[in-house]
Amino acid sequence: MRIQISMQSDIPTYEQIKRQIKAQILSGELSADEPLTSIRQLARDLQVSIITTTRAYGDLEAEGLIYMVQGRGCFVKGDAEIVRRQYLHAVDEALQNAADKGRAAGLTLGELQNKLEEKFHG
């Protein structure tokens, strides 16, 4: 788990932490059932208050991305919904990539859509 926070940012610290962990879960960088750094340890590591990290983890739990086990810590959720969201995330990235490259190569939106259709029915 890698997290870099900016104290100067307008984005609240807990939100920065949440976004970065979320991105790493959705990209598959953090895998299912992988233990996350504990709330209190993370507060120490990032030099933020415990309430801040508690809030970030609480939000991630509410979004169904992680689960907490009393006395053992927090883990990445590994159920179907997570996998589906990871796929959706990958689809978004691939489509963005296709759109960027297509535009660079001078394709129209229609041509790009045709290509996608071909692949989809492949």
Partner: protein, 282 residues
């Protein structure tokens, strides 16, 4: 999660100074910064908490027990301005002297901290620098597994590097569940990097106790050329000078200020400085 600290209507009267109905609580596992100007009563509250002075009235509960209960003191680490150790004692003498009072004293842990904090076990207490003395006191509290630390300006008089080192020791202390700190400070960066809650006391009364962000969230700083007469009553700690004015204002009142007014987020310092200025010139 219960409260590690619960204070109800604490009063203490002295000639010329009084603590007035102080009530606040700190949930177990969190870190609370205690702020307020010199002479506001921070040290008096801390002393009343550990029974070093007798309160006139009110109730104090620490770790779920009344603070009059002697047993509770084993689980508390206290540190005032300077640790109270015999000047001529070495860290090893200190261990011999105080381990009798703590049933869960852990000698090997103590020696581990001495070497980690680079404290010579045979050097006399009076020959340590201020930063070293503070670290020694922390080594003692960590070695009897204190669950609650009450620290009076632990970072006062330390250089920035020693201060950072000390704050990191506090952070490390908090990693284990169920540990709580109440510490007084004048240094806002201490609060920014470690405090969950802030208790703000002024002239013997508690003005605020709550989450750190709440203290600043409802205010903003206003600067401008001329403050309209109808907004004057909302200005907190107003400072006027030839070319303009500066004050703190509740967010709710900034609507309708002239267009030249600049508003920005208030920091903890801004809030305290302006609140105090308001009192002084009120």
């Amino acid at each position: 999660m219960g409260n590690a600290i619960e204070i109800h209507n604490l009063c203490k009267e002295y000639r010329g100074f009084a603590l007035k109905n102080i009530s606040f609580s700190v949930p177990e596992g969190l870190c609370c910064g205690f702020v307020g100007p010199n002479g506001a009563g921070k040290t008096t509250v801390l002393k009343a908490m550990v029974g070093m002075i007798l309160r006139s009235s009110g109730e104090i509960c620490l770790l779920g027990k009344s603070n009059d209960d002697v047993k509770v003191k084993e689980d508390i680490g206290i540190m005032f301005d300077q640790p109270y150790f015999q000047e001529s004692w070495t860290p090893l003498d200190i261990e011999r002297g105080i381990k009798l009072f703590y049933h869960n004293w852990n000698g090997s842990e103590y020696r581990k901290y001495l070497s980690r904090f680079e404290l010579d076990p045979k050097k006399k207490f009076k020959d340590f620098s201020r930063g070293m003395k503070m670290k020694l006191a922390m080594a003692v509290h960590l070695s009897h597994n204190a669950r609650l630390l009450l620290l009076d300006e632990p970072t006062g008089g330390l250089d920035p590097a020693s201060r950072d080192e000390f704050i990191d020791i506090m952070r490390e202390y908090l990693v284990q569940e169920g540990r709580t700190i109440l510490f007084s400070t004048h240094i806002v960066s201490d609060l920014e990097h470690i405090a969950d809650l802030i208790a703000y006391i002024s002239q013997g009364s508690l003005l605020f106790c709550g989450e750190k962000e709440e203290l600043t969230a409802s205010y903003c700083m206003v600067r401008g050329g001329k403050l309209p007469e109808e907004k004057r009553k909302f200005a907190i700690g107003l400072r006027e000078y030839d070319s303009g004015y500066e004050c703190l204002m509740e967010l709710a009142h900034i609507g309708g200020l002239p267009l030249d007014a600049v508003t920005e987020r208030a920091t903890i310092d801004d809030v305290i400085v302006h609140m105090e200025r308001k009192k002084k010139y009120a």
